[in-house]
């Protein structure tokens, strides 16, 4: 492994890490503030990529402009998930049951996509997707830079929304003590519905950048969800900054493993992270408890 190769792998890992942080943010938020594990996150990313695909191929809408349509559509899907299912689960074992419900959601999404698009691989296309900026000895693809910038802006915005506004306080209050939140006039159901909707809407952006950087098919969700879970678990469920840091760390590590050993083993970095963190520190590196206390 050459030194330049290593540097390139690290740069690549940092930039891809931004894209993954964007995809994982919704998962982390929804768990952190509502104790719901959304196994369908991977399938939702793929769904968002297909939505962008349809808009750009059939209607000729630019990928970034198309987000103005796909994000609200994904928001509606999140609202449906909460209104139709999550609020009907029993309090005691809601988290475990949420895994089953969202798993079923993922299967339905996979089925619908397979029915419409078959299992052929698709790719998003736009004139700027193959552009890259030459800096020192390295080429930086423009789409990754744009994705990273979008991740930084959106994650910053989410942090402010969830942890620095009245809406965010109400949301976290309703999780800590539902009855008390009801009593002080917080509309708990509506607050949770909005929160899931926002978490899933952000996924629309992650899905677009994902689809613009790799080829995808309806099964891609399975591969994604294991990576996203690893990122969220390592970063601490509910922590947005943690998701960003751990996404970059894991992707850099995976890229280094890929060039030092073999690309097929780089995925093991993610699984090893899940197992290590959960068996050593069941709440993640920056556990959800600490986050809620903010």
């Amino acid at each position: 492994m050459s030194f330049d190769g290593l540097i390139e792998a690290i740069i690549d890992g940092v930039l891809t890490g931004g894209v993954y942080a964007l995809m994982a943010a919704g998962l982390s938020l929804i768990f952190g503030v509502m104790d719901i594990i959304n196994i369908a996150q991977g399938a939702m990313v793929v769904l968002a990529a297909y939505l962008s695909y349809v808009l750009s191929v059939h209607l000729g809408i630019d990928l970034f402009v198309g987000l103005l349509i796909t994000a609200p559509a994904m928001f509606a899907l999140g609202v449906l998930l909460e209104w139709g299912f999550m609020r009907r689960l029993r309090e005691g074992d809601r988290t475990a049951m949420s895994i089953l419900v969202t798993y079923a959601f993922a299967i339905i999404i996979e089925g619908v996509l397979t029915k419409i698009f078959s299992t052929d691989y698709r790719e998003l296309s736009a004139p700027y997707l193959n552009d890259s900026i030459h800096m020192l000895n390295f080429y930086l693809p423009v789409i990754y830079l744009l994705g990273f910038a979008m991740a930084a802006i959106l994650l910053g915005g989410l942090y402010l929304l969830f942890f620095r506004t009245k809406f965010g306080r109400g949301l976290r209050a309703s999780l800590q003590n539902r009855t008390a939140a009801d009593l002080i006039g917080i509309n708990v159901n509506r607050t949770r519905m909005l929160a899931i909707g926002i978490g899933v809407a952000v996924t629309a952006c992650g899905g677009m950048v994902y689809g613009a950087t790799v080829a995808f098919n309806p099964n891609s969700g399975y591969d994604l969800i294991s990576r996203l879970l690893a990122i969220v678990i390592l970063g601490g469920m509910g922590s947005i900054g943690g998701a960003m840091v751990s996404a970059v760390a894991l992707l850099v590590l995976a890229d280094v493993v890929a060039i030092a050993w073999s690309p097929v083993w780089s995925i093991l970095v993610f699984y090893a992270a899940i197992l290590l963190v959960l068996s050593l520190r069941p709440n993640g590196l920056f556990g959800a408890r600490a986050v809620r206390a903010q």
Partner: protein
């Protein structure tokens, strides 16, 4: 999960007390409930032997009945939702395929004799997996089991000895078409009966009570002296063994093993779906759930081939089950039957029956 299996027909079938006028009748009913389905299962191939399509559906259904029953021994009784039992199914499948090809085991009954070995290997794999996964609880445990599953799928795809994505061919058995399905059917039936017997024995034992105490309140069970770590691990390993055997038989039946078919994420969720559908924590629930749903799925695959449609049906059915009858059809049905009986008994003013209902529907 704690309340899901709280009221189940198995526990209420024999209420304690010396004065029990319906006892003999009840014993007769419950032995009929065991013997009649068993007799039907034994006779089924004789009736259907001409229809190979239905026979193959039946073999798949039995493989899943054994798997869900075994999964229930751990997840149903302990309340720990395991979503990674495809690890043991795939381990069993690869065991029979690799031993069969590497050691040149002659196809036929000799290879069939390896099916219990598949169970043993799956049980051995379950020991380290359980030791890691059971350090965690509740939803964290679920996530860890999913993670372990993906690790095994990756290993099966990338390790040298598994044949990678091109998979492994199980030695071809030259049984004639007319007896092929029938033989697999009866072997599968033996596995199902053994698994149900195991499930029943666990349920009736002190060990089973300890598991259910963990389900209801783990801290309290520990306080009462239950060695929770040991009990959970034992149940986990015990539930992996029949799943491994089912996986071995499945691979032999299909004739080839691939990483994505042996370690299939849909298998993980299928066990949970069938278990919840029938009623987890009960003995008959997993059997009924697997029988209905796996037959349905195989029928769909035969009729419409594998496009996205069956995924949609599968996922939707799961959502309906979890929302409308989270306790499953067996407990819900039993409760309905009891309240119907109670209503009838009320008409003839029998106070003890009413008290019984109040007790068991708690």
């Amino acid at each position: 999960m704690s309340a899901t299996g709280a009221a189940d027909p198995g526990a209420s079938a024999a209420p304690p007390g010396p004065v029990n006028p319906g006892g003999a009748k009840r014993r007769l009913t419950s032995s009929l409930l065991v013997l009649v389905p068993l007799a039907l299962a034994i006779l089924f191939p004789l009736v259907e032997s001409g229809n190979q399509g239905n026979m193959s559906i039946a073999v798949f259904a039995l493989i899943f009945m054994a798997s869900v029953s075994a999964w229930n021994i751990f997840s149903g009784y302990s309340g720990y939702l395991a979503l990674g039992h495809a690890v043991f199914f795939g381990t069993g499948a690869y065991t029979i395929a690799l031993i069969g090809t590497d050691w040149h085991v002659p196809a036929g009954w000799a290879l069939m004799a390896l099916v219990p070995v598949c169970g043993v290997v799956a049980g051995l794999v379950a020991i380290p997996v359980g030791m890691v996964a059971l350090r965690t609880r509740r939803h964290t445990f679920v996530v860890v089991t999913i993670g372990v599953f993906f690790i095994f799928q990756t290993l099966a795809t990338n390790l040298a000895f598994t044949g990678g994505t091109s998979g492994v061919q199980v030695p071809f058995v030259s049984w004639s078409f007319s007896v092929f399905n029938q033989r697999f059917y009866y072997v599968a039936l033996v596995i199902v009966v053994a698994t149900v017997a195991l499930s029943w024995a666990v349920r009736r034992s002190r060990f089973g009570l300890q598991l259910m105490a963990i389900r209801d309140d783990e801290e309290r069970a520990r306080g009462m002296g239950v060695r929770t770590a040991r009990v959970k691990l034992a149940a986990f390993v015990l539930s992996a063994i029949p799943v491994g055997m089912a996986g071995g038989l499945w691979a032999y039946f299909l004739g080839s093993v691939y990483p994505t078919s042996a370690f299939d994420p849909l298998f993980d969720i299928a066990l949970a779906l069938m278990g919840f559908f029938g009623g987890i924590g009960t003995i008959s629930g997993p059997l009924i759930g697997a029988l209905l749903l796996e037959s349905l799925q195989q029928y769909f695959t035969q009729k419409f081939s594998a496009n996205g449609l069956y995924l949609i049906v599968y996922g939707s059915l799961f959502l309906v089950v979890i929302l409308l009858m989270p306790r499953g059809i067996v407990p819900s049905g039993a409760q309905w039957l009891r309240s119907w009986r109670a209503q009838r008994a009320e008409g003839s003013s029998n106070p003890t029956a009413g008290a019984g209902v109040a007790e068991v529907t708690r």
